[in-house]
Symmetry: D2
Subunit: 118 residues, 4 copies
Amino acid sequence: MSLPELTQAILKFRDDRNWAQFHSLRNLIVSLNLEAAELLELTQWKNDADMTAWQEDSGAREALRDECADVLLYLLLIADRAGIDLEDAARRKLEKNASKYPIAKCYGSSRKYTQLED
Amino acid sequence: MSLPELTQAILKFRDDRNWAQFHSLRNLIVSLNLEAAELLELTQWKNDADMTAWQEDSGAREALRDECADVLLYLLLIADRAGIDLEDAARRKLEKNASKYPIAKCYGSSRKYTQLED
Amino acid sequence: MSLPELTQAILKFRDDRNWAQFHSLRNLIVSLNLEAAELLELTQWKNDADMTAWQEDSGAREALRDECADVLLYLLLIADRAGIDLEDAARRKLEKNASKYPIAKCYGSSRKYTQLED
Amino acid sequence: MSLPELTQAILKFRDDRNWAQFHSLRNLIVSLNLEAAELLELTQWKNDADMTAWQEDSGAREALRDECADVLLYLLLIADRAGIDLEDAARRKLEKNASKYPIAKCYGSSRKYTQLED
């Protein structure tokens, strides 16, 4: 399914349940943050080696897949509510990021653009 | 751009800067949470009426679009790192959610599925 | 119990369980964020009027109290790990905030200090 | 300064600026989450070794101290708004946690209480 098709499916899911009344932009953004936190919880108490071992487990992979899906579904609801074309927005943001992070200045560096040295 | 094309573009952006070394699954999930928080910050101190008025402003709409884009870009990096097909994951999660939230039980209710009444 | 006494109690709780090994500064900060998200979850789908009504319920008040407590307990663990005197830090930060937000400029305004007008 | 004294100081700071109008419980909880995210941002792209080295820097220590202070200040505002005695709440939550995590079952284990084995 493409993003526009997924958007139609999640809107139908919402409307079948009469949930649009709860879906203010603010509420959707809070919910996206809660889903992001559930993804973060999967990393709790694990170092990088633990994370790698953990991903061998099929239950772990399913949990990761489900939480990523939940983040995407709320992102689609937010984009619909705010009139945003997500794929276009991502393409344009990537161009902005390319200007903020010129290759010559940030190659191999994890500094924030506000801290890049000349 | 479709999600697979966006994924290719963000991976090239990453590799042009030699940033894969920083992109452990754990680090990417932390970064997704930080972007979600930037989206949340756009709602800070605003009630629902304020949010509606605020969206009339073109700077506000650009900020919303950019933060949504950042969430999607990190989600694509996470999906790539974890071997997840995001669109397929979202479609399957929506089916799971339909089972957890049967229309008859949750029509017009914002209760969590663990608190739905028989 | 004062904060120093609470700190001693939570450190004993940790050491009785041999958990210091998991309590890197990074892990503790992630955990604090997860507890903050649990507090946020208590507000999910509620507008301001709902929040007020909800607080009449004793179960709700207990949930609020418990989540606030969890945030404080992780904050004490972080402060201990980082060698921070929390009460002194808060007093000094309040002084900084008073400089960033002069009364004459920000009276009755929710603008961020970077957006205050002269 | 003790927590009750800090609470008085932050309430005066708020009232001097006529900000109580913005401080609904919901808004304060959102703000606490944003401050927690600023603390999380200090860990972004750093592994445990990086974190240790980073703390040698006095600017880093000040940033940590300030972000911890901001979390505490919002927690005090939330506790005041919700009528919670924070120190008492933390003491009682620690007792609950001791029941959820009996030493014999969770010694040296980072499992969640719902996943502890008999």
